[in-house]
Amino acid sequence: MSKIDFTVNGTRHVVEADDDTPLLWLIRDNLGLTGTKFGCGVGVCGACTVLENGKAVRACQVPASEVSSRSFVTIEGLSSDGSHPCQRAWLQEEVVQCGYCQAGMIMTACGLLQQYPNPSDELIDNVMSDSVCRCGTYPRMRKAIRRAADEMRTKKQ
């Protein structure tokens, strides 16, 4: 057991955990933030994706021993009122079905847009198909990402 000192959604936390505990379980079990989901635990489904400095990170692949002094954002911290351009675009394009994968998908999309503010459909498909949506919402996600991208770019200008 070690003391892990890290920041989630702007709040600093100190928790006790085994060094090999994945960040995912620190977030879900220790902090009780259940918006971030568990799908595979081996880095292939993307359900656990969170952001670090705007980049998408799979929380099941980050051991507690590497977490201290880092800062993450989960779906709960993306905005206080669901007003992030991706969240709004997701609703406007009616993306969700069961919704289980969607927190991870939205975080993945945020990571993509931070790196490529104007992604091509091909790039969107490449990045998003790396995460698993069992309901098959990929075409609507593509539309939502384009919509969010447009909005984020107009805001910047």
Partner: protein, 382 residues
């Protein structure tokens, strides 16, 4: 929070502050006063409260098919209510109810009862308003959660009418709206649970936490009938946080005080399973069998003539569809939370068949499934 059906109905009926209409198959039922509450046990019901909130309690599980949205839409249409004001509650399973969700049947089986219940409530609210205003009920109209009397410009919200409406005789065959008058059904609406999903607030079975709960991870055999050849039980027990290792007829469970310890303990088991028998199911062989069978002479199961007026065939599509033998694997891993205290057990599980689950658990624990204040199971299903 409503804890039991009977307690809820009693409160609803005694306070006289709600209009409650239940539906059981094709039957409409009304809770008039406390004396009938005991016999009033519908599978689903609509409750309109004095504050104008509308609660629809129904045993259909949301699993991405959008049923919470579509059922609210049906009710709102006949009730002439704003559909976003309708709150859906999951009906609890009971010994004699069937709350299964499957076979694409939710809309088909809820369509008529929900429309009837909504229409009945609407007609009763109209009668209550007309009586209060001493006008002909034919001159009153239900519009957006209120009854209006356009001749005099008067308007009363449903909430202010429910106490009176609850005393009105339940109409046996309330008039249903014409499809051409539909304002909600057939029109684009947003998912009622969309905002919760995109903000991480939607709660799934796997998100349920009970204070002090233990976590279990289950190692399943790779095929039916597989036997354990080798197992490092001690290694699993040595993992920090692991409480016990339990062998089941089909699998081995590691119980621990955190999810991660349970997962680590299960990995530490390093189970070696027996080899599958020579004649075990094999996907490739199965596919070949289907291919061979498809070339044999078959029989016609259904034949339909094209509707009259259909033109000549201009294009023929010839295609083969192969539906593989797939696991029904959702991204949410199989999970369930059980809280057993004395002779009471509460289960939270993302399941399509809560009453079957209830019966099996009750049998396992030797407790009777009951429908009243001690409903042994409730579910969180999405």
């Amino acid at each position: 929070m409503i804890t039991s059906r009977r307690a809820f109905l009693k409160t609803a009926a005694l306070s006289g502050a709600s209009l409650v209409i239940g539906f059981d198959g094709g039957r409409l039922l009304q809770a008039i006063d406390a004396s009938v509450a005991g016999s009033f046990q519908p599978n689903g019901w609509v409750c309109i409260n004095s504050d104008g909130t509308i609660i629809l309690t129904i045993g259909k599980c949301e699993m991405g098919q959008g049923v919470r949205t579509s059922l609210a839409m049906i009710l709102a249409e006949e009730l002439e209510a704003e559909w976003t004001r309708i709150k859906l509650l999951q009906a609890k399973p009971s010994a004699d109810s069937d709350l299964g969700t499957g076979g694409s049947d939710s809309m088909a089986s809820s369509w008529k009862p929900l429309r009837q219940a909504g229409a009945a409530a609407r007609e009763m609210l109209i009668t209550a308003a007309a009586t209060r205003w001493k006008v002909d009920r034919g001159s009153c109209k239900a519009v957006d959660g209120a009854i209006e009397h356009s001749a005099s410009g008067r308007r009363l919200d449903y909430g202010s009418l429910v106490a009176d409406a609850a005393k009105v005789q339940l109409p046996e065959n309330p008039p249903l709206k014409n499809a051409t008058d539909f304002k909600i059904i057939g029109h684009r609406t947003a998912r009622i649970d969309g905002p919760d999903i995109v903000s991480g607030k939607a709660r799934y079975g796997v998100d349920v936490k009970v204070p002090g709960m233990l976590y279990a991870s289950l190692e399943r055999p790779p095929f039916l009938g597989a036997k354990v050849k080798n197992l490092r039980e001690d290694n699993a027990r040595a993992v920090g946080g692991v409480k016990s290792v339990i062998k089941l007829p089909r699998g081995i469970v590691v119980v621990a005080n955190s999810t991660w310890s349970a997962i680590k303990g299960r990995t530490a088991l390093a189970v070696e399973w027996s080899e599958p028998p020579k004649d075990a199911f094999d996907s490739d062989a199965h596919w070949k069998k289907l291919q061979t069978a498809s070339r044999e002479t078959g029989f016609v199961t259904r034949e339909e003539k094209p509707p009259s007026g259909t033109g000549a065939i201009t294009k023929t599509i010839d295609a083969t569809y192969y539906y593989p033998f797939y696991a029904h694997a959702p991204v949410e891993t199989m999970n369930c939370v059980a809280d057993v205290r004395g002779n009471r057990c509460t289960i939270w599980a993302p399941t399509q068949a809560p009453e079957r689950l209830q019966k099996q658990v009750a049998q396992l624990l030797g407790i009777a499934p009951r429908r009243q204040s001690s409903d042994p199971t409730s579910l969180v299903a999405r």
